[in-house]
């Protein structure tokens, strides 16, 4: 028995136990503050599944050796473009609309991801710096593009002047909430109970399974080998650079699908600087889940996203309640996410 507990403890790891404990503590402290626990839990569940795929995008990137993909913004803008194009086409059927958005987004992401992978192959050893830089620059570049792309649909562009896209684009006419509402149900009283976005969760799991299968495919295994030992991989006749490009492109494509999933749940597309820090949150989540900069698994994603987003979902309302009318929540969010990244990065350097 003791053996068993020790094993389980070793597998989960101290940091995750601490964070899980903290999560429960904050959740309990919400009760005397008069917050609705069911809503908080529902929020946790929704954020978990809506961010999940974006975090999942870290797995092929880390496994193929480019490290945490701070440049996931590249996939995010691809997804946003795909969604915008789908709206522009005014597809009536929401399922078709989200399908087109994902297909177009993925296609753009794969092209960009291949180029990005080629770039990263030329800067081996400093991938994290370069990917952070790419992540920021693509957002800056798109800030210009969003202003000048020739979209005409009234949902997309500012009503005045007829040029430039809106900051936030409502999805209520197309696929907003589509996955969330599918097969959804509420535990307890409607409106006050625990809302379970079944479709969203199922979709998240489906993509998890696809990634899991990919990582067990011939290509996926070669890709992981390329990440952990280039010399070994080469000696088996595998082109390491090609594997890194595949991993990067796959990660970018998941970014595109991830942001569309996120947007449908949120109900809006957010352009311009909105996705600026998303990459950091994704990295933080997967590292919390127990991944290192060299190794990441699907379970790291599932656990990490739950803890990270759960903590934010619960902690922010609590802080709001304790210190109303301050911008502390935002500061706390920054501290949590950046602190975790620092902590995790310092950890990975040390262990060997």
């Amino acid at each position: 028995m003791q053996e068993y507990i020790k094993k389980a403890y070793d597998n989960i790891g101290l940091p995750r136990l601490i964070i899980a404990g903290f999560f429960l503590l904050v959740l309990l402290s919400a009760v005397p503050l008069g917050l609705n626990i069911a809503t908080l839990l529902g929020d946790t569940l929704r954020r978990w599944a809506m961010y999940g795929i974006l975090v999942l995008a870290m797995v092929p990137a880390i496994q193929c050796g480019i490290g945490p993909n701070f440049g996931i913004s590249l996939g995010i803008v691809s997804g946003l473009l795909g969604a915008a194009i789908s709206i522009e086409l005014e597809i009536a059927n929401p399922w078709l609309a989200i399908g087109v958005a994902m297909l177009v987004g993925t296609a753009i992401a794969i092209v960009l991801g291949i180029l990005y992978g080629m770039l990263l192959n030329n800067v081996k050893g400093s991938e994290m710096t370069v990917s952070t830089y790419v992540g920021f620059s693509v957002i800056a570049f798109m800030n210009i593009m969003w202003l000048s792309l020739p979209f005409t649909n009234g949902d997309l562009i500012w009503p005045i002047g007829q040029v430039g896209m809106r900051n936030t684009i409502s999805l209520s006419n197309t696929f907003g909430g589509l996955l969330n509402e599918t097969l959804s149900f509420t535990i307890g009283q409607e409106g006050k109970g625990l809302f379970v976005p079944t479709g969203l969760i199922l979709f998240f799991f489906l993509v998890c399974v696809i990634v899991w299968l990919f990582m067990r495919s011939k290509t996926g295994i070669a890709l992981s080998a390329a990440g952990s030992s280039p010399a070994f991989t080469r000696s088996s006749g595998i082109n390491v650079n090609k594997m890194r490009i595949i991993g990067t492109a796959f990660s970018t494509a998941l970014g595109a699908i991830g942001i569309i999933t996120y947007a449908q749940s949120y109900g809006f597309l957010q352009l311009y600087n909105a996705p600026l820090w998303m990459g950091f949150h994704c990295v933080a989540a997967v590292l919390i889940g127990g991944a290192t900069t060299k190794k990441a698994s699907i379970s790291n994603v599932i656990i990490g996203t739950f803890l990270f987003q759960g903590l934010l979902a619960v902690a922010l309302p609590v802080i709001n309640q304790v210190l109303p009318e301050s911008n502390l929540p935002d500061v706390i969010r920054l501290i949590i996410s950046n602190g975790i990244i620092l902590y995790a990065l310092s950890k990975t350097k040390g262990d060997k």
Binding site: E3, L213, R216, S217, K218, T219, I221, A222, A225, S228, S229, A231, F232, R234, S235, S236, G237, I238, N239, K295, D351, K352
Partner: protein, 525 residues
């Protein structure tokens, strides 16, 4: 009064994840003696030394039980730095050099020499400048002491394994204030003559009063150079004796628990080798492998032959297989059964039925973070599409088949492990070597090239491996090329042995050629 011991390790026990690898082990070493630590693969030799040296792997896995005394005083060593402070030096089984650093930097790391500068007068010792010249001089001296001919300013990355071994040793020799030196299989990648030179150096060091603990699987070295011996079996001490009271045969018996006779018993030979049936042909073959350059080799290896390649470290014997496999830039012609290889294309040798076991097992031979089973099937899966489910264009790992095959290989090669899912990085050195072999054998190649196949393998397992190679050759007609620094091994198995010197083949000899002839060929060029 009892004898004075420099090192006294008492009742040492250690477990990894509930797997007891050391049980109440005692080890006593006197000043100025060479103490041999002997045991099978996985007996716990490296683990015992890692405890002595305070390696992080010990303390991150729950520490150990027992006490360590140095000069009669109990000490707690929980980091390598502490071990160094107590005057302990260690040459690890798996090299611990920093690839991006030069030879000098690797030798001097942590013990840089500085000289006063303008700033240091003002701000103290931290601001002194490094005395590169002095450091380079020291490095030169340490290198020439052990007879290694290499520029001290080149980078360690990409050097052949034999060099790395010497650099590690130079680093330890250069240290001052050393009381105890540990050598974990320092001679595994060296030829007899190189090993002898190293052992002579060890004798000189010991005569200065420094104690030496020496791990090896070459028992003749033990008999000729050690003063006393401790034998481990399955994590327990079976004997502790003066070397004069024990014979090589007794050592071997105590260590593996049964008798070993000849190195190999060859199966009956029914092959007919023909000079017109050539498996592998090299013409004017050049390889640009740093430290192991090949400068124009012509060789014809017959189908069904076991062909040996020997020679001193740095002469190019390792360059030949690495060039054929496309791991280093090569020129010239390589023909496999008459078909020309495209040397510029990675993996073309593999695709044409050649498998290779690299001498650099941690760098090239293994995925240390992955399971034994994945390591074993990796190449066959990637190159021959085996161990996969084929669902249209999708190829998924067939876990069941992988497991079955891995279990078979573990049994066949006697890989000592907790199971097929154990991480390769946590196996003992010799067992890692067996996993490398298993991976190549899984390819079921027409031509098998093995480089230092028995590096770090104990005598029992060595017999097993060599006999298995012979069996593949005799029964399946597999052509086998063995590159090895161990002449005995080459002699026991090969039909012909090429001696490489100065990047060229200086002679091709029969396995029973006299030592003098081979020695001459090795020194030629």
């Amino acid at each position: 009064m009892s004898t004075h011991f420099l090192l006294n390790m008492k009742n040492i026990s250690k477990e990894y994840d509930g797997n007891q690898v050391l049980k109440n082990v005692n080890l006593q070493v006197k000043p100025g003696e060479i103490h041999a630590l002997i045991g099978e693969n996985g007996a716990g030799k490296s683990t015992l030394m890692n405890i002595l040296f305070g390696m992080p792997v010990i303390h991150s896995t729950g520490g150990f039980e027992g006490t360590v005394e140095i000069n009669g005083e109990q000490v707690f060593i929980d980091s390598p730095q502490k071990a160094i402070d107590y005057g302990i030096g260690m040459v690890h089984q798996e090299f611990m050099l920093i690839p991006g650093f030069t030879v000098t930097e690797n030798i001097k790391i942590g013990r840089e020499i500085s000289k006063p500068s303008l700033l240091s007068h003002l701000f103290g010792k931290g601001m002194e400048t490094l005395d590169f010249e002095q450091m380079a001089r020291d490095a030169r001296k340490a290198l020439s002491d052990i007879g290694l001919n290499i520029e001290e300013y080149i980078q360690v990355a990409g050097l052949p394994v034999g060099y790395m071994q010497f650099i590690e040793i130079a680093r330890e020799i250069d240290k001052t204030g050393i009381k105890l030196l540990v050598f974990d299989e320092p001679t595994a990648v060296l030829t007899e003559s190189e090993a002898e030179r190293l052992l002579e150096i060890m004798k000189v060091i010991a005569s200065k009063g420094i104690a030496i603990i020496f791990i090896t699987h070459r028992l003749s070295e033990v008999k000729n150079y050690a003063d006393s011996i401790t034998i481990l079996r399955d994590g327990e001490v079976v004997t502790h004796k003066d070397i004069k009271d024990i014979s090589i045969i007794e050592i071997a018996e105590l260590m593996i628990g049964r008798k070993v006779e000849k190195l190999v018993d060859l199966a009956e030979d029914t092959r007919t080798l023909s000079d017109s049936d050539i498996a592998l042909s090299l013409k004017n073959f050049h390889v640009d492998m740093p430290g192991e350059r090949v400068r124009g080799v012509d060789l014809d290896i017959r189908k069904g032959e076991i062909f040996g390649i020997g020679g001193l470290a740095g002469q190019g014997k390792l360059g030949i297989p690495n060039g054929i496999m496309g791991l280093y830039k090569a020129e010239g012609t390589v023909e496999i059964f008459g078909k020309k290889l495209d040397l510029s294309k990675l993996g073309s040798a593999l695709a044409n039925g050649i498998a290779f076991v690299s001498e650099d097992r941690r760098g090239v031979g293994l995925l240390l973070d992955e399971s034994i089973e994945l390591n074993i099937v990796f190449s066959a899966m990637q190159i021959k599409d085996e161990f996969l489910y084929h669902l249209g264009p999708v190829k998924l790992l067939n876990q069941k088949q992988v497991r079955q095959h891995a279990l078979k290989m573990i049994d066949l090669l006697d890989i000592r492990c907790t199971g097929p899912t154990q991480k390769v990085g946590s196996l003992s050195g010799g067992n890692q070597q067996k996993v490398c072999l298993a991976r190549a054998l899984t390819m079921n190649p027409e031509i098998l090239i093995v480089s230092e196949p028995t590096r770090g393998i104990d005598i029992g397992a060595k017999k097993l491996v060599l006999e298995y190679l012979a069996k593949l050759n005799r029964e399946q007609g597999m052509t086998i090329i063995i590159v090895s620094s161990e002449l005995v091994e080459l002699r026991s198995l090969c039909d012909r042995i090429a001696i490489v010197s100065g990047g060229k083949v200086s002679a091709i000899v029969k396995p029973d050629a006299p030592d003098a002839e081979i020695g001459l060929a090795m020194a030629a060029g």
